[in-house]
């Protein structure tokens, strides 16, 4: 296996982006930041891969126009996934492993505010027995939340603690869309939105884009003193049938964890768009109590669709670059109630653990 590292990261997040859903306008300065961080031009990038969704944009092949932001003459080696940018990163990591390329830029973008996000996401459910009822993502998460509360696995106080910690940390994140710590009591006093979830238990609808830079071996060392070497990467999915899943846990998160070495992880950026889901992930990933979770504020502070998972990986990678941590985790999720989970373990030492 080649040593591949995350060596660049840039992001934009806002409540409502008033531009085109192609997001070219957001991506141009993001790529400029990546070039600034690496000293590269687009000619140094061996492979481009994006994550986005036509359903968010409301048009087919919506991702094609986004590549105007790259400058694609002469033609570039490019791919796309109708998924979060974290999976675009997985594809790029694989591409580099084949030896075909040594560097890659992956990016995600999405204008959730163009439609009704929680309704649009009903299209990812079983089209025969579920989508015709249009179960929104918030309702599904709420059903999961109540299962845990009724089962004594977590409670509203624990959920509020996740929120308070996240929004307090978000105060230091210039990209956060929602920020400001208060107190657990204050949070519990606020009204329900989707009983038992309150608005702050749910990630805010966010528009945005982000890009990550990958490089192999010496290409990475030339860019960063402390590259965030990917020492483990895994992705698993649970089935579509909601009833046969144990929603108080996440089988696929557990299987993803078993496929990598999470021992010694100091910082974990977890893509939990709902507060109780952070509690599920901590348990399924067996994170020790002293692991610092979502120092960025996490998705409860801002969660641009199809980008939020990639942002978790970028935020985690930064902690390796700046010397805050030697081993970190970036997690991404997709699908209803933590159905799909990707783990990206990064470390200052490329030989740390084994995958």
């Amino acid at each position: 296996m080649r040593d591949v590292a995350v060596v660049g990261f840039a992001q934009r997040q806002m409540e409502e982006f008033d531009g085109s859903p192609t997001c070219v306008e957001l991506l141009v300065p993001i790529f400029a930041e990546c070039y600034e961080q690496t000293g590269w031009s687009r000619k140094d990038v061996g492979f481009w891969c994006s994550g986005s969704s036509d359903y968010l944009a409301g048009r087919s092949f919506s991702f094609v126009q986004a590549i105007d932001s790259i400058g694609v003459l002469p033609p570039v080696n490019e791919s796309h996934v109708e998924m979060d940018a974290a999976w675009a990163l997985y594809e790029a990591w694989l591409k580099i492993q084949t030896g075909e390329v040594d560097t890659a830029v992956v990016f995600g973008f999405g204008k959730s505010s163009a439609g009704v996000l929680r309704r649009t996401l009903a299209l990812q459910l079983d089209p025969y027995t579920m989508t015709p009822l249009w179960p929104d993502t918030v309702s599904i998460a709420a059903l999961q939340a109540r299962l845990g509360i009724d089962g004594g696995i977590w409670d509203e106080r624990a959920m509020a603690e996740v929120v308070d910690r996240s929004l307090t940390d978000a105060e230091k994140n210039e990209y956060a869309v929602r920020a400001g710590g208060s107190s657990v009591e204050d949070l519990l006093a606020r009204p329900m939105f989707a009983d038992p979830l309150r608005k702050h238990d749910c990630a805010p609808v966010t528009d945005g884009a982000a890009a990550l830079v990958l490089a192999a071996g010496d290409r990475a060392r030339a860019v960063r003193e402390r590259p965030a070497w990917i020492t483990g990467i895994s992705t698993f999915s649970d089935g579509l049938h909601l009833g046969t899943r144990d929603l108080t846990g996440s089988d696929s998160a557990r299987r993803a964890a078993a496929a990598v070495d999470l021992g010694g992880v100091e910082v974990a950026e977890l893509h939990a768009p709902f507060s109780h889901q952070e509690l599920i992930l901590r348990r399924e990933l067996e994170l020790a109590d002293d692991v610092r979770v979502n120092p960025s504020g996490g998705p409860l502070a801002g969660n641009p669709m199809f980008t939020g998972g990639g942002i978790r990986i970028g935020e985690a990678a930064r902690r390796v670059w700046d010397g805050t941590a030697d081993k970190v985790l970036g997690h991404a999720t997709s699908g209803p109630a933590l159905q799909q989970n990707l783990l990206c373990v990064m470390a200052a030492d490329p030989a740390e653990g084994s995958n």
Binding site: P21, V28, W134, L147
Partner: protein
Amino acid sequence: MSRTLSAPVTVAFDYTRSVGPVLGRFFTGLQERRLVGARLADGRVVVPPPEFDPVSHEPATDFVDLPGTGTVTSWTWVSEPVKGQPFDRPFAFALVTPDGADVPMLHAVDVSSPEEMSTGMRVRARWAEEPQGGINDLTCFEPVGDSEAAPMVEVRGAPATSLETLVDEPVTGIITPVSLDYVYAASPEESAFFRGLAEGRILGQRCPACGKVYVPPRSACPVDGVPTAEEVELSDSGTVTTFCIVNVPFLGQKIQPPYVSAYVLLDGADIALQHLILEIPAEEVRMGLRVKAVWKPREEWSTTIENISHFAPTGEPDADYDTYRHHL
């Protein structure tokens, strides 16, 4: 004035889906006011029946008839319903474990406040007056009132469904309409283009790196990946670089075929604009034909390319191939 123009757009399609043998059994059952589940390899009875066992991956073949009563295993209050949900006023979504099943199914419960919902409450199916085929034939669940408390129906070795159905024709396909509403915003460059059209002007933008003029303008030059800020007003005359004679009628077509859809390279532009060619027999349209925009009456103008009704021949001699060979 807002930075960008926007307009509502709805994307809709009525998907028709064949259901196959497993879901067909389930949907036929709903029409007959029966809940049909399947027993999996591990003995669990699951509703709706999965087409393939999630553990053994074998097709489900062991079908089970269930009574339409059940227990709420989880619930939430939908305080702000979205379009298409079972009710257009606040209601409950719930996980309901039907009597005789081992896992829950997701559906709505018709109550008027969250105070009426509780985990463990008993509910029964409410069936559609006129079944259409599909999950909505089970309209929702409703609470079983105290006065008519239905005890938990003990279903021992739940009866297997009979091979013969009571309806004349089993369900083989369902229609699942999808309709999504968006507010579509143009980019600042496209907005400038449309605002220009409202004034009878065609505006392009020039890339500072390669000098090419794009119309409609794009947020970045696709060659160089840099924003194209310099505005360039273009002539409304140009050259046909390529064209297509549309003969085939299709859904949503606005013009009667045959008609000509063409790429017109406006004088001053580096990429061609797509529009209609009229006032010339279709078979006479050719590459190099010189054409000019025919605008609708000014009072009909808005921020739209439709201000130009079509392009018509100017009568000039055809443009030299060299003038457009690099724009094909």
